[in-house]
């Protein structure tokens, strides 16, 4: 990766594939304080996971990063041109087949039909949905829908990838497989990943760094480096070191006392 240093103006802009929150606070119009002065950044090649109790503002944070919501204070630095954002729900369009769903974003970005088709076919291969191109969403299981949703985002080859509890609704086994696939993608593409989850084991398995958020208003209360090398074997979850780290994170989540 070469980093181009140019004039002063462009050095203020985020480098390709990085994301930074500077003192972000969010108060909703109804007075709900969702986020309180959150600052951290995710560089290219980093996979950062945020864990926190329900309702602490994790989704809100991603919405602010993507521009769907405007923070009430603070700034976000990110290139939004080709931002990847995988929602908690698959949000597939029911009237489109898998192939046409996966082509959607390329379509919205004005790629021509041939290029769209090529990108979609490649992404569908990557998530292991080959053979299901002509299925409508109603004929897919929950896990397959999530794969299609992932493939849809992959077509853009985003340098920054946001995941909002993407595998929260699928069963344990499927989730572990989707974790492995996502990790392979991360290793292959080296994007900057920001991941949200409720599962500590998922957080440790996937991330290079885990941030713990407090209950509302969300604040970053702890940060853990995850020392394991990528790609990580499936059985890492049963290593003592993995268990120890999970325990520490769990402790931090409960507010630092028992």
């Amino acid at each position: 990766m070469t980093s181009t240093s140019a004039d002063a103006a462009s050095s203020l802009r985020p480098s390709a594939g990085s994301l930074a929150f500077n003192e972000i606070s969010m108060v909703f119009p109804d007075g709900t304080e969702a986020i309180d002065r959150v600052s951290f950044s995710v560089e290219r090649g980093e996979f950062v996971t945020v864990v926190g109790p329900s309702g602490c503002g994790k989704s809100t944070l991603l919405k602010i990063a993507s521009g769907l919501l405007e923070a009430t204070a603070g700034t976000v630095e990110v290139d939004r041109e080709r931002l990847g954002y995988v929602f908690q729900d698959a949000t597939l369009l029911a009237w489109r087949t898998v192939q046409r769903n996966v082509e959607l974003l390329a379509e919205l970005h004005g790629f021509d039909a041939a290029e769209r088709g090529r990108l979609a076919t490649e992404a569908i291969q990557t998530v292991g949905l080959a053979g299901f191109e002509n299925h409508y969403p109603r004929a897919l299981s929950g896990g397959m829908k999530m794969r299609a949703s992932l493939a849809r985002t992959l077509t853009l080859k985003p340098p920054v990838f946001l995941f909002d509890e993407p595998f929260g609704a699928v069963d344990e086994i499927t989730r572990e497989h989707l974790n492995e696939e996502t990790q392979r993608l991360f290793v292959a593409e080296g994007f900057a990943g920001l991941f949200i989850t409720h599962s500590i084991s998922e957080a440790v398995y996937m991330s290079s760094r885990v941030l713990v958020m407090s209950a509302r208003p969300g604040r970053i209360v702890a940060e853990f480096e995850v020392p394991f090398d990528y790609p990580r074997p499936r059985d890492l979850r049963f290593e003592p070191e993995f268990a120890r780290l999970s325990g520490e994170i769990s402790h931090a989540l409960r507010g630092g006392h028992s």
């Binding site: 029911a94 959607l104 919205l108 990557t126 292991g128």
Partner: protein, 297 residues
């Protein structure tokens, strides 16, 4: 990089349906089993039909005295005079065709007008708030109350008949289209927002396709209403082609009970055909993907 589901992912393999797409469960069974099922579907209405025919005969012959029998002629006389008599039957058919044409034109206008209004309402809350009360008012006016006004403005020719159809068919189209346009999921809207979709792109690729099931449901209702509108309009407006409404009135005035009943039966048949046709159309258009049991994916 490629992950094949076969070696890396047992979950994917187990998820694979063996058929291209799951179809609604069809009864599997032996021939006699299936025959019994067909019997159970066809037999009850058939028996009820026989019962009604019996009742009809009973009223004609047992309840009504000879000189009052014109009120309800027995079925075979209705068939004889209303359906087998070529001149009467072709008169009824041409009346039906005329009214069906009026209903179709009225429906077409209502579709264009109604969908345009619904799209405008879907684009700004202001337009929705401004228009909605008037739509509800229009819907609440009994059609018979404005028939004199329509004949006052448009005369008693074909135009007035079409106007009645439009007025009566408009509301379900607007309401259903609007409801459909607003039915796209929040998440899907977010997706379009994230990728800087224009208003038109959002309408064409998200809101409109999402609205199709509701639009077709509305179309089905409106088509039925449009037929009613055509008959009612024809009943009151005397100029122009003779439609089924004029015939109904004529037969009633001349106490032609057989012809009257035949015309009524044929009018219902038209209504049933229209309802069935739009049901078929709906299934053709959205049946492949629409899953009524889930609101989203």
């Amino acid at each position: 990089m490629t992950l094949s589901p076969s070696d890396t992912d047992p979950a994917a393999t187990s998820e694979m349906p063996s058929e291209p797409a799951p179809t609604p469960a069809t009864p599997i069974g032996t021939t006699s089993n299936r025959r019994r099922q067909i019997g159970s579907v066809v037999l009850p209405p058939f028996l009820l039909g026989l019962g009604i025919l019996g009742l009809w005969y009973a009223i004609s012959y047992l309840v009504l005295a000879e000189r009052r029998r014109f009120l309800l002629r027995p079925p075979h006389q209705v068939i004889e005079k209303g359906f087998l008599d070529t001149s009467t039957f072709s008169e009824i058919l041409s009346g039906l065709v005329s009214s069906a044409r009026v209903a179709l034109i009225g429906l077409a206008i209502a579709i264009v007008l109604g969908m345009t209004i619904a799209v405008i309402m879907s684009q700004t809350k202001l337009a929705e708030r401004a228009i909605f009360p008037y739509m509800v008012t229009l819907q609440a006016i009994p059609i018979l109350a404005i028939v004199p006004l329509i004949s006052f403005w448009f005369g008693t020719g074909q135009t007035s008949r079409v106007v009645v159809c439009v007025i009566i068919a408009l509301f379900p189209i607007i309401v259903n289209t609007l409801f459909g346009l607003q039915s796209a999921e929040r998440g899907a809207h977010d997706l379009f927002t994230l990728h800087h979709a224009s208003r038109l792109t959002r309408l064409r690729k998200l809101m409109f396709p999402a609205a199709l099931p509701a639009i077709f449901a509305g179309l089905r209702i409106s088509a039925g209403l449009s037929v009613i509108g055509a008959v009612v309009g024809d009943f009151f407006f005397g100029r122009g082609d003779v439609g089924i409404g004029q015939l109904l009135r004529r037969y009633a005035n001349r106490l032609q009970g057989e012809e009257l009943l035949a015309a009524v039966i044929m009018t219902s048949a038209l209504g049933v055909c229209v309802f069935w046709f739009f049901g078929w159309l709906q299934n053709r258009a959205v049946g492949k993907w629409y899953d009524p049991s889930s609101s989203g994916t």
